[in-house]
């Protein structure tokens, strides 16, 4: 059994807890939190320990799955823990990945450990789809559509507006854009061409709804570059209809083969997820298995899913995969 620790216990931490508990070859040893451990109760009853105590578990854990935020937690947590453990994270700040990779690489190499970063579905499985499609169709264009799904970052941005009690934002791909890519048209898109932003907002009593709507639609980066719809609803309706965290999307590559680029081809990878954090947790658990195997055969340093032989992600043996899934 591969012995797993989880550092950080929010939605993704619970997703990892679920995936590890369901896996035949892994056991969850403990959850580590920076909150008061007595205040945290795990779904499966797995022990909760203080994050500061994790060093004392060095001999009890094969891999630590780090479930913190990319903005302020992972940049220091992943290198810190990679100095003691094989680690996995879901760092998703694309622009800062090279820097994060270098920091984790230095710590993991010094410790002889493996650290696989950015293991979610984007970055993660969508990255794999982009690389496989690019390798087969080097002459082509990549397109990534996200949604229909809840963007927690955009929902948070709305909640910070004065007069907003609660909010949920869906990122929605525009069907005509997806169809144009599938048809091999190689369109050049603006952000507005590819996605809509659909907002459900609960206003505080007496709040100026017109001002809230204006504040949302003109918010730079988050909403201004998109066509955005705002609908005010009650807290009850928000809770009833918008409490889930579904997500998904598609990676498409449209490219040519042939001596004169005479053949068109489309490669498409699509996810449709009832729960974004639980699917992310599943990938993190599979990556933990891979990290354990790669470290067991002597590898160390920072890795991404692009470095992982796919067999290592599966609980099935190489022979089973060759016989049944190849």
């Amino acid at each position: 059994m591969i012995r797993i620790g989880i550092a950080g216990y929010g939605n993704i931490g619970r997703g990892v807890e679920s995936a590890v508990t369901n896996a035949p070859d892994m056991e969850l040893v403990a959850v580590f939190t920076r909150r008061d451990p007595a205040s945290v109760c795990t779904v499966t009853g797995a022990p909760v320990m203080a994050y500061d105590q994790i060093g004392s578990m060095k001999d009890e854990l094969d891999v630590v799955v780090i479930c913190g935020g990319s903005a302020t937690d992972l940049p220091w947590m992943t290198p810190e823990l990679a100095a003691q453990f094989n680690v996995i994270d879901s760092f998703d700040n694309h622009a800062n990945i090279p820097e994060h990779f270098a920091n984790v690489d230095a710590a993991a190499k010094a410790a002889g450990k493996v650290g696989i970063i950015s293991c979610g579905w984007d970055p993660g499985y969508f990255s794999l789809a982009r690389v496989f499609a690019d390798a087969a169709l080097p002459d082509g264009d990549n397109y990534t559509f996200w949604g229909r799904g809840v963007s927690q970052g955009h929902s948070d941005a709305i909640r910070r507006i004065e007069g907003v009690a609660d909010a949920r934002q869906y990122t929605v791909p525009i069907p005509a854009a997806v169809d144009a890519v599938r048809a091999g048209e190689h369109p050049v898109f603006t952000a507005r061409d590819m996605h809509l932003r659909e907002c459900y907002v609960v206003a505080e009593e007496g709040a100026d709804k017109a001002a809230i709507e204006e504040a949302i639609k003109t918010m730079p980066n988050y909403f201004e570059p998109y066509d955005t719809t705002v609908e005010f609803i009650s807290q009850e309706e928000l809770n009833e209809k918008h409490s889930g965290l579904p997500h998904g999307g598609s990676v498409l590559r449209s490219g040519t083969t042939g001596f004169n680029a005479e053949f068109n081809n489309t490669v498409e990878f699509t996810l449709d997820l009832d729960s974004n954090p639980f699917f992310t947790g599943s990938i993190l658990a599979a990556a933990a298995r891979a990290a354990f195997r790669m470290n067991s055969e002597g590898q160390c340093g920072a890795k991404t899913l692009l470095d992982v032989p796919p067999v290592y992600l599966s609980h099935q043996s190489r022979e089973e995969l060759i016989a049944h899934l190849l």
Copy 2:
């Protein structure tokens, strides 16, 4: 530059020739044929040599891409060539893959070479999609739909019927079946539920068309288990409308996450290809790059795409992939 040889020069051989010629990091040294080399003319003007001469090119080739048939060529060619070269093949006889793998493994290990077998899109990219989906959703069901596309094996089977001058067979997925999987229904399908077989047949003059249609529709394994349509057309119409080799299909996995399997998820990988052999050739060329890199770092033996770190397939460097596609 990675120096490539192609053994066998049919449709897939030309696909590899095209992909290698378009790649920035590979050069095509020679094509090897069992026909009279003087009778074979390559599209790019690459030299043609007798297959028997390939041993004399041991120091001139980094990887040999073997483009023979799975039924009678690859079972002996791939082990024979793996004893001298890093090799790639597209062996697609699923039931015999474990035996073929073992034969190539023994030869390649003895020679210190890498042999990556079954590198097409199924087996190949579809296998990767199945393994990634299975690793993320261990609790679920896989479905593979092929088409709409030309099955050369089924077209050949029709051409062997008395009175048939020419034929083309399309494998067609049944939309309702695909939709049921996407909807998370976990259906149990018969072969007939998933695919139709659409046949375009040119009859010889005076042939008994009713007998031909009956012979097709009752042919065991090939057509009997399916709903099959037969349309008789002229050779001119066949040449005009059905001369291409398009193909494609979808791998779907529908599975659950959550402590009580409460979340449904669908993972889908779809290919839409104007030319089956040229896309296959592209994957074979990418696999040749990977074989060269894996052997350069000291690996040997038989491999499949499931063993290949995805970065090795790309002409881009690991740093470029991390910065741009991760």
